[in-house]
């Protein structure tokens, strides 16, 4: 889920149609299609919604309802890397809010924002199931734990080179 952003390609309707087609045989294909599109392009383009609607014989509104319900589906391209900082109870109890506040301030970001150079997007996530290692995060597809300001910055800077 989420995908490695560094591999995201630019929006391409033909490729999107291909991805949609590949999943039509599944039972309940909408979520797998949305994940596959996000894996490919880093987000679910508004242009993909009518294509999915047509392929699944749904309305655009129905598809939009699903994509907007799940916060994990992005509506804009993300940065080359995505950091998901956990805000679950366990992480909060271990200081994740303070960690996040400082990290975001340091990079001049709001939750969900992307740095000006397009390098990094920071999103909130509510429990990664890694409570034993709170505060935890997921950087691209990799889980990282027992974070503090230094180790978090180091992890981010390492992938950003």
């Amino acid at each position: 889920m989420g995908g490695t952003m560094s591999g995201a390609s630019n929006w391409n309707a033909e490729r999107a149609a291909q991805i949609i087609n590949e999943h039509l045989g599944l039972e309940g294909p909408m979520l797998p299609i949305l994940h596959a599109l996000q894996d490919e392009f880093g987000y679910v383009s508004a242009d993909a919604v009518p294509m999915i609607a047509k392929a699944l014989n749904l309305s655009r509104a129905e598809v939009h309802g699903v994509t907007s319900f799940y916060h994990d589906f992005r509506h804009e391209p993300a940065g080359r890397h995505v950091l998901k900082l956990c805000r679950g109870e366990s992480c909060q109890s271990m200081g994740s809010e303070e960690l996040a506040r400082k990290f975001l301030a340091g990079r001049g970001l709001e939750w969900g924002g992307t740095t000006a150079d397009g390098d990094l997007t920071v999103e909130a996530i509510y429990c990664l199931g890694l409570c034993a290692c709170s505060p935890a995060a997921m950087l691209d597809d990799e889980l990282i734990g027992r974070l503090d300001a230094e180790t978090l910055a180091e992890a981010v800077d390492t992938v950003s080179i």
Binding site: A46, V49, A53, N57, L58, S59, R60, A61, E62, V63, H64, G65, S68, F69
Partner: protein, 948 residues
């Protein structure tokens, strides 16, 4: 006359015959199995608080106001989602429930603007009512927390506003759009506190998939979705139940009034045709009735070159009467005639034909059904003995297979289209035979099992080929045919359709429809359970229109799909009262009730009642009147509520016919296109301004009720009376009910109809007489009205209208949801927001070949004439086929259509014209000169000029 309020039972009625008995608040009640506790309580008059439940949609269980306690069960279940169970004891009011409900209401109100006094829903708001019902006195959370008060209104839809600040996210609008309308245009964007109702992909309503049917506005419990007319005018104070004047579905509405001002039209739940649903036309597009273009004073002129002169009613009527009498004195009594209107009431139509038969003394009466469903009248009468559809609309709920031929229900008959979609979503199968990929072929949650995209003009060959498969593969219901039909005629027919030339493989060569599709469709129709055929003008408006109707009737008889609910042959009638106009004796050869003028018994009835001798030979049909006019033997015509210049084929010919006449009297709301050739204009009244009845496509007679005085001074029935009296044939009805009494007295199939019965029953389906005092929802149960069902051999004869090197494409015509017929009404409403002009649909391949791009002006030329319009490139039409609508007068699509017509009834062949399409710079010569002529002809002398 107070405001009619309808009880909201909260959840839909259940059909189970098994009754369940339970106790609610100590009272024993019984309800059909599956009924919700909420509904069972309301049935006994106990209202359980609710917000997200309304009886037009399934229970949802989200608002948590309708909680109840059930003895012996844990918790507080929602009464909307909990069905009744035998022996349970339910409490709807306890201290615990009161506390819960109050707590829920506090949460709602903490995020609701408290502007009730200035809110458009003040006095008609369920949130307000329920806050009162649960005894809300304060909100512990205060009003300072996060809220949605700054959400921006969406005013894009011309008829209703969306104010998300007032939304409680009950989902009723979203569910109504899905369950009732079947468009799925709405959704909830986001989740949790961020949840908001959104149209399409969170876009303005007007740009979304929304078709503006009004179901969401109807379902909204607050002012979130509100008619702009209510915002502007305020709430209505009284209402009357009446019938929509648009299409043949015949929806029942409450006309909600403030004094003589119409505030809104609200679909009536008791309406047997619409069950509380509506479309954009009936619900919202009534503004034409008060449009500034409406003519309110009678006018005359000696020549069509002259400007109009406003005169008194007396002068106009006397002028028309004296001209008609002069023409008859000089050219014989057959030199004049008239046309009745499918837009007017049964009573008005009856009077016009009475005036012509008895007052004019001839049978030169015809009606616009000539150009639409006359083949239905002929075909179904021949096959079954009655000129009407066999079913009621409710029958579709028991249909397993729908066969839709040459009809586009979601645009042409939208409310019934929604019923069909609902049944299709529930699992019924669908076959569509249409050159164009209509919406039903593929629309959210509905997909045709088979779409047979035939070349226009091949209906007979394809339907006969379906019969070929049914007969040769042994799928005939022999027991039905032997019992109900003429067996020897059946055998002749079976032998005919079995000929190899009717096999799908041969017909593929003519029709372009793949043989396997024809075979599969035939098997599905014959073996899929209850199969019903729905058809429209794509069947009738052909040179073989009557033949196709007969072929359809053959299919239904051969498979035994007649005489019970769920099956049948259902013509989707176009206009609000086209069925009624036909029933009322509008055709030159028939009296009311389809009795031939040569039928002495029928003639005797009228001769003795009217005191005049009647002709026993049929009179002229519309095209014959026009031909005779050009020849000089027909010189005067009385046209009530029809625009033949625009709606009839070969516009040039219609124009020259009208031009040749000495006295053309047009009675209409507007100076329509035909009025450009008129000498007398009699302003008509709208359906809101008179009493009467309309008869819809299912033979249902429904009341039209007067809610305001006629702005022109008279109801149309009164105008016909004035003209008749001026011509010396006395009519003296005081109320339309007296006209209906005369109809009932003289017409066997209407014998039991009266206004008293209609008021009591709401509506009644003819035949209504001693044998069927409550009317006849489904016809031909147990046997055909005409005796034995008649199989007629349906030889396919290709139309003379063929493509060739000069005209290589086939033009076919249709209509669009937002407009109605020639657009005289809908063009004068905000419906133009959806469809400002007619477009030519052309396949990408044909467009590329001609260098045409989307939005380009193109010239469409046939051997009859040419016109120009803009192109829309789409694969909805097959290569070789182009399509347009005829809603706008400047398009003049009928300049292009030809004079070919149905062999039996003269119904014009609107659906097939060979054309060429080429790029163009703008309007054609005819369009330009017509525009000038129309402008010239519409001049009305100002009073100062008139005094000179």
């Amino acid at each position: 006359m107070a405001l009619i309020t309808e009880i909201d039972f909260g959840t839909p009625a259940q059909k189970s015959e098994k009754m369940v008995t339970l106790t609610i608040d100590g009272v024993e009640v019984s309800a059909p199995e599956g009924t919700s506790i909420m509904r069972a309580a309301m049935e006994m008059g106990t209202e359980i608080p609710k917000l997200c439940a309304t009886d037009s949609i399934e229970a949802f269980g989200s608002c948590r106001l309708c909680l109840v306690e059930i003895e012996g069960r844990n918790g507080t279940p929602a009464s909307c989602t909990t069905p009744v169970a035998p022996g349970i004891s339910v409490k709807t009011q306890t201290p615990r429930l009161k506390a819960l409900r109050k707590g829920v209401m506090e949460l709602y109100i903490s995020d609701h603007p408290l502007d009730c006094l200035t809110c458009s829903a003040n006095g008609d708001c369920e949130l307000q009512t329920q806050a009162g019902a649960v005894g809300l006195r304060d909100v512990r959370y205060g009003y300072e927390g996060a809220n949605h008060f700054d959400n921006v209104k969406d005013l894009s839809n011309p008829y209703f506003a969306y104010d998300p600040a007032k939304c409680i996210v009950c989902n009723r609008c979203v569910r109504a759009c899905e369950e009732v309308q079947g468009t799925f245009a709405l959704t909830i964007d986001g989740r949790g506190f961020g949840s908001r109702v959104a149209a399409g992909q969170d876009e303005p309503f007007l740009e979304s998939e929304c078709v503006s049917c009004g179901a969401c506005v109807q379902a909204c419990p607050t002012a979130t979705l509100m008619e702009k007319s209510v915002i502007e005018i305020g709430l209505p104070e009284h209402s009357a139940v009446t019938t929509c004047a648009y299409c043949g579905v015949g929806c029942t509405f409450k006309a909600e009034m403030r004094g003589e001002e119409l505030v809104r039209m609200v679909p009536h739940k008791d309406g047997k045709a619409n069950h509380g649903h509506s479309c954009v036309k009936g619900r919202f597009a009534y503004g034409y009735a008060t449009h500034r273009d409406r003519i309110l004073k009678p006018m005359i002129r000696a020549s069509i070159e002259d400007p109009w002169r406003e005169v008194s009613w007396e002068e106009a009527i006397n002028y028309a009467a004296s001209q008609f009498r002069r023409i008859q004195a000089e050219h014989g009594k057959h030199a004049i005639g008239g046309i009745t209107s499918s837009r007017c009431t049964n009573e008005e139509t009856y009077l016009v034909q009475k005036l012509i038969r008895a007052g004019f003394g001839n049978n030169n009466v015809d009606t616009c059904a000539r150009v639409c469903h006359s083949p239905t009248g002929y075909g179904l009468k021949t096959a079954f003995g009655t000129s009407a559809g066999t079913q009621d609309f409710d029958s579709v709920e028991e249909t397993d297979v729908m066969l839709v031929i040459g009809a586009n229900p979601t645009d042409g008959h939208p409310v019934f289209g929604s019923r069909m979609k609902k049944r299709l979503r529930a699992g019924a199968k669908l076959i569509v035979i249409d050159p164009r990929r209509i919406d039903l072929v593929e629309t959210p949650h509905v997909k045709a099992d088979f779409h047979l995209p035939l070349q226009p003009g091949c209906n007979v060959s394809v339907v006969t080929s379906l019969a070929h498969v049914i007969v040769t593969e042994g799928l005939v219901n022999e027991a039905f045919v032997r019992e109900r039909c003429d067996w020897s005629e059946f055998q002749d027919w079976a032998a005919f359709v079995s000929e190899p030339r009717h096999s799908p493989e041969e017909v593929e060569k003519i029709s372009g429809v793949r043989a396997d599709l024809i075979r599969s469709a035939a098997r599905l129709y014959a073996t899929g359970g209850n199969a019903a055929i729905f058809y429209g003008l794509g069947v009738t408006e052909h040179s073989q229109g009557s033949t196709t109707v007969l072929a359809i009737a053959n299919l239904a008889m051969a498979t035994g799909n007649l005489g019970r609910p769920g099956v049948g042959v259902n013509p989707l009638r176009g206009q609000n009262n086209v069925q009624g106009a036909c029933d009322m004796g509008s055709f030159p050869h028939e009296f009311a009730g389809y009795r031939h003028v040569s039928d002495t018994a029928a003639r005797d009835v009228y001769e003795s009642l009217w005191g005049v001798a009647l002709e026993h030979e049929p009179g002229l049909r519309i095209p014959n009147m026009l031909d005779a006019a050009v020849e000089g033997t027909f010189r005067g015509i009385y046209i009530q509520g029809e625009d033949i210049l625009q709606s009839d084929p070969d516009t040039h010919h219609v124009a020259s016919g009208l031009k040749a006449m000495e006295c053309v009297v047009v009675q209409d709301l507007f100076l329509n296109e035909t009025a450009n050739y008129a000498h007398v204009f009699l302003p008509g009244s709208s359906f809101l301004e008179k009493d009467g009845t309309f008869t819809n496509a299912e033979r249902r007679i429904q009341r039209v009720r007067k809610v305001m005085s006629p702005k022109n001074g008279y109801g149309d029935w009164e105008i016909t009376m004035l003209l008749s009296n001026a011509m010396g044939f006395k009519m003296s009805y005081k109320h339309p009910s007296e006209i209906m009494d005369e109809i009932a007295l003289t017409t066997p199939s209407f014998a039991g109809v009266s206004y008293a019965k209609l008021d009591e029953m709401g509506s009644v389906q003819w035949p209504c007489n001693a044998a069927a005092p409550d009317g006849t929802p489904v016809m031909h149960i147990g046997g055909f009205a005409g005796g034995k069902g008649k199989f007629v051999i349906t030889e396919y004869v290709a139309t003379d209208e063929r493509t060739g090197p000069r005209f290589p494409l086939l033009l076919t015509t249709g209509r669009i949801l937002s407009h109605y017929n020639v657009g005289a009404q809908t063009r004068r409403t905000a419906n133009v927001a959806w469809h400002p002009e007619d477009l030519l649909e052309i396949h990408p391949h044909d467009a590329e070949l001609r260098g045409v791009k989307g939005g380009d002006w193109v010239k469409v030329q046939s051997r009859a004439g040419d016109t120009t319009l803009r192109a829309l490139i789409t694969d909805r039409v097959a290569p070789g086929v182009v399509y347009t609508t005829f809603h706008h007068p400047m398009t003049q699509a009928n300049v292009v259509t030809t004079e070919f017509s149905d062999w039996a009834t003269n119904c014009p062949e609107f659906k097939v014209t060979a054309v060429q399409v080429s790029p163009s710079n703008g309007p054609s010569e005819w369009q330009e000169s017509y525009r000038q002529q129309a402008e010239q002809s519409r001049r009305i002398l100002q009073e100062a000029d008139a005094a000179e």
